[in-house]
Symmetry: C2
Subunit: 328 residues, 2 copies
Amino acid sequence: MTREIVLAARPEGEPRESDFELRELEDAAPSDGEVLVRNVFVSVDPYMRGRMTGVRTYVAGYDVGDPIDGGAVGRVVESRAEQFAPGDWVVSQLGWREQGVVAANRLRKVDTTLGPPSTALGMLGMPAFTAWIGLLEIGRVEAGETIYVSGAAGAVGSAAAQIAKLKGLHVIGSAGTPEKVEWLRSLGVDAFDYRQSRPRDALADGIDVYFDNVGGEQLEAALSALRTHGRVIACGAISRYNDARAEPGPRNLFLMVTKRLRLQGFIIFDHNARFPEFLAEVAPWVREGKLQYRETIVDGIENVPSAFAGLFHGENVGKILVRVGPDD
Amino acid sequence: MTREIVLAARPEGEPRESDFELRELEDAAPSDGEVLVRNVFVSVDPYMRGRMTGVRTYVAGYDVGDPIDGGAVGRVVESRAEQFAPGDWVVSQLGWREQGVVAANRLRKVDTTLGPPSTALGMLGMPAFTAWIGLLEIGRVEAGETIYVSGAAGAVGSAAAQIAKLKGLHVIGSAGTPEKVEWLRSLGVDAFDYRQSRPRDALADGIDVYFDNVGGEQLEAALSALRTHGRVIACGAISRYNDARAEPGPRNLFLMVTKRLRLQGFIIFDHNARFPEFLAEVAPWVREGKLQYRETIVDGIENVPSAFAGLFHGENVGKILVRVGPDD
């Protein structure tokens, strides 16, 4: 028997533990071309909230009764595909389950010489890849520019802030606790606590690029602070995912014209072809300690829903992971 | 003696005639390198409203007591620069005056074999150049796509709609009177009257690009209608120029992320280097009748303020010009 988390009800507003249910099911066995994977770490990500609403977005939504697909790292238990052998570390979209059968072509092998396997869901995985694509391809940042990263202590934000610094930018970052601000300052980020200071004050000297993980008031403040030809890298809007109804947008969007701004959204899955290039650039930085990461690790599959809910309270520093099985 | 219009007071809300004043002044004479130009047609443009607020934008604001600079076409009266001779048609930024002295390097000679001189302020001038740059460089439109142009019967909009058609796009356009809609339909534009139909209904089949001359509700409707990888060419927001205070932005701006949208503002003056290329492509279309234009011509410099105010009531079809002197 194995266990998984399914969607029990569509969340209204903030997700609650009662929106999810732990279910037991029979073990499955792989067919030809398939692999049985035992998850070790599963990821909880803000974008999953959108998939729970029942509104079609860029990925299929979860229906009530569905298991929650998503990023997970685990080990091969049994392989009927020649590319994989028992014991291999792999990244899958198995999501919030203890184990499952996956087609071999939907798995990516993890090179554990680059970093601990958990980093395949963080600084060497989707969140940091999102930061890298956002900076380079969407924002086209240049050395000497000033960037503002909101949610800068989160999984994507902490990667964006540090990669921007490594690319020669001056980085301003916001976070919601003194502990996070202190960590960011130790990384050379000009950090402020958005619960203590107003973004418009922190950005008073102007910015060239805004890496938006948050939306809402921070976007409005950033639009005011952006210089001519500024860019907004629209990565997500965690302040908005739980809104029951759409809130008004920034009152100063017209600045887009007078300041010749470019606002651009993106979805990382469109850019998967560049993942090897990302890894080639970023893995050495992680190995050399130039890119720091923090992980918040919660134990037990039964605690996935509360870890997910915690995302929306700004509880996590860095990447939040749930360990659902032994990591050896 | 000659006459000019000066700003008498900063408009609050919609501009009124009492915000302007007609002033008489002595004739000036050109020095070396300068040219005395007698205006024939002067332009009234929505962007001028922004320059009257006293807020710094992309061009210097007008101060109270200042003459109103802006696009004008006229004839050389006296030249102390070898590139110009009496009788030449020229475009200047002399604005709302009967005549003035201009440095030769700030004049552009008009080739009157391409079209009547008035078109140098419309279909062969800044408005159509704005449309062309917006479509090609900002929106990067492609044949087969569907574009929505708001304010499609205006000077910029009617150029955008027709150039888009010539580039192989399906064009939806909005305007505010039955007469304008009829004209647009005669041009092959799928036109609707936004005072009769809701944009969201007119755009129900989806669009790839939105050429925004209007802002406000139309932008919100367009964001909803845009397909994945859609673009917004942010050219101006005539619905907003007179707002005393900033109104909230679109409630659905978050769609930028899920639909990977790009919203980009631009100012035509940044692109002046491409003007000859524009003229080379567009002038033959005008000559061959593939690009139609309408002009609303008002007579007398004393009527410039009312013509300007009329812009914000959607009174004009095509380009609105004021004739301030004889055109022969």
